[in-house]
């Protein structure tokens, strides 16, 4: 079993829900990466999704896109992010998940990326512009390093496709909750419960909900229909404003037992 899946199952075994914050590496400077990751780890998050900035992030909404532009303006690259993570990998006790578009991995070299990412504490990879059909480009290299390749499942996917995606996804299943791009939403469609029931029926791999989740209520509500949540834009905004109280409230909402 992948370390990522194990970490999520450990959380859910206690009755809590997995909470995975997304951060944009290099937003505010790469020197912020270590303190941010270590503080989130201290708050008890299950894993951390580390966003890699890209020039053409077509799956991202304005909040994450702007954070990516700030990171790029700081000279952030995939190589520098991995080097930085490598520098404090011994202090990281929770799995990191890299979210990157495909082209930076291709430019890095797929095998080299898999090896360096593993050494830097990355235990899972999400590639939003690489569908199931193309995953053989990176899957063998990641697999040989024990890095999970996570598939996104969309509301628009057909039942047959949803089954194939959930069965292929490693670590967890990233269930996209809206038709669209990343970013805060006011409301979600009513049929989501059925959708998640279907996802859970195909697999014993944890199913996490992502895209648009921005309030403690969202976190609680999704906790009733799946194994946990990924929160992106709201975390990115809060970090940019150094608003840790908001982040703590979101994390707490994923707990069944009150935090002491």
């Amino acid at each position: 079993m992948s370390q990522l899946k194990e970490a999520i199952l450990k959380t859910t075994a206690n009755g809590d829900k997995a909470f995975v914050p997304y951060i944009m590496a290099g937003d505010g400077g790469l020197e912020k990466l270590q303190p941010t990751i270590l503080r989130l780890q201290e708050l008890g998050v299950t894993a951390i999704e580390v966003g890699i900035p890209f020039t053409d992030p077509v799956a991202d909404g304005p909040t994450i896109e702007r954070a990516g532009e700030r990171a790029l303006a700081n000279g952030t690259t995939l190589r520098k992010i991995i080097e930085t993570l490598h520098g404090f990998a011994d202090q990281i006790t929770i799995p990191l998940v890299a979210m990157t578009y495909l082209n930076p991995i291709l430019a890095y070299g797929v095998e080299e990326f898999a090896r360096d990412a593993q050494a830097a504490g990355i235990r899972g990879v999400i590639i939003p512009d690489m569908p199931l059909e193309e995953r053989d480009i990176v899957h063998p290299a990641l697999k040989s390093e024990g890095v999970a390749l996570i598939q996104l499942v969309s509301l628009a996917s057909s039942s047959e496709r949803i089954e194939r995606l959930t069965k292929a996804s490693e670590g967890f299943i990233y269930a996209v909750t809206v038709n669209g791009i990343t970013g805060a939403r006011q409301s979600f469609a009513n049929e989501l419960g059925e959708h998640f029931k279907k996802l859970l029926s195909y697999t014993d791999t944890p199913v996490l909900a992502g895209f648009g989740i921005s309030t403690p209520d969202h976190v609680k509500n999704f906790g009733t229909i799946c194994d946990g949540v990924i929160v992106g834009s709201k975390i990115v905004d809060s970090l940019a404003n150094e608003d840790w109280a908001t982040i703590e409230d979101l994390v707490k909402a994923s707990r069944v037992a009150p935090v002491k």
Partner: protein
Amino acid sequence: MTTTTKGRFGRFGGQFVPETLMTALQELEEAYDKYKDDEAFQSELSYYLKNYVGRETPLYFAERLTAQFGGPKIYLKREDLNHTGAHKINNALGQALLAKRMGKKKIVAETGAGQHGVATATACALLGLECIVYMGAEDVKRQALNVFRMELLGTKVIGVEKGSATLKDAVNEALRHWVTNIEETHYILGSAMGPHPFPTIVRDFQRVIGDETRQQILELENRLPDAIVACIGGGSNSIGMFYPFVEDQDVALYGVEAAGHGVDTGKHAAAIHSGQTGVLHGAYMYLLQDENGFVQEAHSISAGLDYPGVGPEHCHLHDSGRATYVNITDDEALEGVKLLCRTEGILPALESAHAIAYASKLAKTMSPDELLVICLSGRGDKDVHTISSALGGDLA
């Protein structure tokens, strides 16, 4: 890269898109497969191409241009004479008719020079579809006339301020819009690029250029041309022109990329020349990028060629050696504009002027018993402000 999926041209192409779009692409592929051989669909398309677009376009013997070089007989395929002034309408109309059959009521499109935007706005007005066009803010400035035309046609034009604020960024926004409005919207991609099945669909709707040329040259000269020259941004007019000749090994095919200020200046749009490959906008292709895989801004005086990638079928024709890819600078393209204006009384689009400029070089190496065809993809009325300012004028 491993080639695992359909929609590949050699090692290029594929479907590198967010999962939400996969179902839409599959739907599009199924619809296209159903209608491409459907007689009713094809006869509807032919009806509009003939009576609305004004096809077929002439294959015109450019006598004075020919005399200029004393080389091959030069013919111009007059796509500039199409309704809306460029070849873009062939594809926009085809895809709009397809969208209608698919039951999609809304259209989204990107545009660089504005020609594809105008063509799409036109097709949507004709067929009663709602239309939104994303256009880089830089291009909105460079092509104010086309923005106004689109608005007159009832289309909503949205300027994109992000990134380099050009065609690449307009494609990003159009893709985001499509992901968010997937159920009722069809994306009319304007060039032979993007994820499968777009490169094939666009080529098929543009191959009318090459099919007509082939028939016309056989009628006029009783043989095929020795060389064909066409400009390349994403590569739609060129692939439409080349495709029917690909099996004819004796017909040399030349694709002309935009060299901007020069291929060694870092300010150009010559993706094939760069030799780098990568993934952008759904396809694996030759791509202008840095060592980190970040996509670089393209530069060309011509907004329609100002794109950092090139369609996957061209990438494959380059790898296989079947077509030759060359490049022409901004300055050379401007000379091409002047040349065609003064020898033939035709104002070419800045895009097409790249083909004229390269053909001028090529003609000097060919003999009078040879035939050279240039794809004149569009007319230059939209470019008069850019041309004037590049030549030191102050038309504003």
